[in-house]
Assembly symmetry: C2
Homo-oligomer: 162 residues x 2
């Protein structure tokens, strides 16, 4: 039995401008049928030579990762018929930079953890199904290095790897 | 001749909460010596069943990618002694989702392009050195799948691959 395969594209564009220090003006646009534009500037804090006028670039990244998986948890819990009330996600993103001599440093990811608490009466197995689907549907996770993101599910007072 | 190797960690954390539809409240924190907290909530638009109260999750991701590379372009142009005045970056993020039958869709990255225009009197070779260093230092690029992000540099009226 062959099943229908459907595909759709998701395109975002941005224009960024930096004129001197670390402030980056940045306009972001979702293209396609549900367009939306937002002004999402970044800055560094005084510790790094910036003026602290806006969130860090990695603050935006961290929100993007956290909220993308949350959106898919909500969407796919409905699609899979798994009853979920509140969704709580704690995210921890850990990078390390290495500098040799006076050369510019190079960055790498260390650990990216999403701790997921799905309220409601669903079984642990059903919650795991939702997290598995959400991870595969999450547009941010899909482009990260394989194996980098770890998911944990809250079961009672414990966290279990998913 | 051995050179000194130094390392430093970068940690961001977030707490997200979703109570019903697609609105995700999200508090993001940079940890360490230069802490900062921001409220960066997301929503979907009415087209997707949301209320359009906040940027899309991928809007945050797109700003994070764009502004992270811009910050490193500014930082490393100084470090490498390459004179750069304005920095203009156009970013295009293209994903595709595939759905088989009624199953939840799965996502993948198609093309992620950063078009970089570095103003100032630096040579093309020096600008390429800055872009190469910025790509290696960019915390977002460092955790994306290898080869996914393409950089182009504006030279006169042309764009050249870097």
């Amino acid at each position: 039995m062959s099943e229908t395969v459907t595909r759709f594209d998701v395109v975002f564009e941005a224009e960024g401008k930096n004129t001197s220090k670390f402030r980056n003006d940045c306009h972001v646009h979702m293209r396609g049928k549900a367009p939306r534009s937002d002004f999402l500037p970044s800055d560094e804090g005084p510790f790094h030579g910036g003026d602290g006028t806006a969130p860090y670039p990695l603050g935006y990244f961290t929100s993007g990762l956290t909220t993308c998986i949350m959106t898919q948890l909500r969407s796919f819990s409905k699609k899979l018929g798994v009853p979920v009330t509140d969704i709580l996600v704690d995210c921890r993103c850990h990078w390390q930079a290495t500098q040799v001599g006076a050369a510019p440093y190079e960055s790498e990811g260390v650990e990216f953890r999403l701790d997921i608490d799905l309220h409601g009466d669903a079984s642990v197995e059903d919650k795991k199904r939702v997290i598995d689907a959400a991870g595969k549907g999450c547009f941010v996770e899909a482009i990260l290095k394989p194996g980098l993101v770890k998911h944990r599910l809250k079961v009672g007072d414990e966290w279990i790897d998913v």
